[in-house]
Symmetry: C2
Subunit: 193 residues, 2 copies
């Protein structure tokens, strides 16, 4: 019974991702999501108190998957780790066929709703802190010169956001794989002692 309940929850999440991506957050009703999933409204509210709560679960899941990709990228040295991370981007672009509208909806809702804003912005600040620590470790291990890690972490997060967005919007506009690697190479050269 527990298992079926979790299955229903996963199906609601998968359907709503498609609905939001296709029609947008505001235009997708709980009724529509229930119909598409083939569940009752009662079953829906058993899992999610509101459409916004459902939306935030999707956002959380997306960010968790990025986090997981990062945590499996650890290499011998910090420059190698950073180079290895660039391989996440092309995979993220390739697997995110329908996800660009969703990705933009997250930010759009965040810009309009203080609660979603907090959920959206928290992980960026978290990633920010993650890269700050990584850059500091690079300084400590002697790979990088003694630079303030804060703006460096920000440039890496900004670059990742910008590349992802451009890659999703214009997949054929460039060899994004090569771009990610070359970009990181320039930054690493700029950070080298």
């Amino acid at each position: 019974m527990q298992k079926r309940s979790e299955e229903t929850r996963s199906r609601i999440l998968a359907t709503s991702l498609k609905c939001f991506a296709k029609h947008g957050f505001n235009e997708s009703s709980i009724q529509e999501i229930c119909q598409e999933t083939g569940v009752s409204k009662g079953a829906f509210y058993h899992h999610f108190p509101s459409k916004q709560a459902l939306f935030m679960e999707l956002l959380k899941g997306w960010l968790d998957s990025i986090e997981l990709d990062f945590s499996t990228s650890q290499q011998e040295s910090v420059p190698e780790t950073l180079m290895h991370m660039t391989s996440i981007l092309p995979a993220a672009i390739a697997s995110a066929d329908d996800q660009l509208p969703m990705f933009l909806e997250f930010w759009l809702q965040a810009s309009r709703d203080q609660n979603i804003w907090k959920v959206t912005i928290a992980p960026y600040r978290h990633f920010q802190g993650y890269f700050e620590e990584l850059i500091q470790r690079g300084i400590d291990e002697g790979s990088f010169y003694d630079i303030d890690p804060k703006p460096v972490a920000q440039v890496i997060v900004s670059m990742a956001v910008g590349l992802l967005l451009q890659g999703l919007l214009d997949p054929k506009g460039a060899d994004w794989n090569k771009t990610a690697r070359e970009s990181m190479r320039v930054i690493l050269k700029g950070l080298a002692v």
Copy 2:
């Protein structure tokens, strides 16, 4: 008479920018825009054949203003020009109080509509070409080592997009002025001969 007509056109553009930013593209009707502007539907259609055409005019105006900022940034050398350009970002963030939703709406509509996509993507490719030429000039003047300008131009465009987006979404999350300058410094060091 000509002057009044242009004035009406400007007022429709200003009102629709507010409507789209506040309620989104889909939720804003021509009727609502006309009411808020205080013009008839006839006057509206005299200037814009459709809501989409109006939307694309707004997009074009926004991109033209960035173009203008770039063209006034020319300095002695390419590294100096690039450093000077970083000063555009904080101003863009500061003056774009209400513009983040609009900015995201552009991309969201682009991801859903082939016509808007073409209009949205064209200037990125144009900026891309602009920075490619600038990097090539930097190589020619002896400021940069002999690197492929394409991925370098892409990293600059990506960084700008990412910084703008983060700066708009989280204005207090960092000193974006300092971040833009420090980021460019790292990249310039990475490009230096």
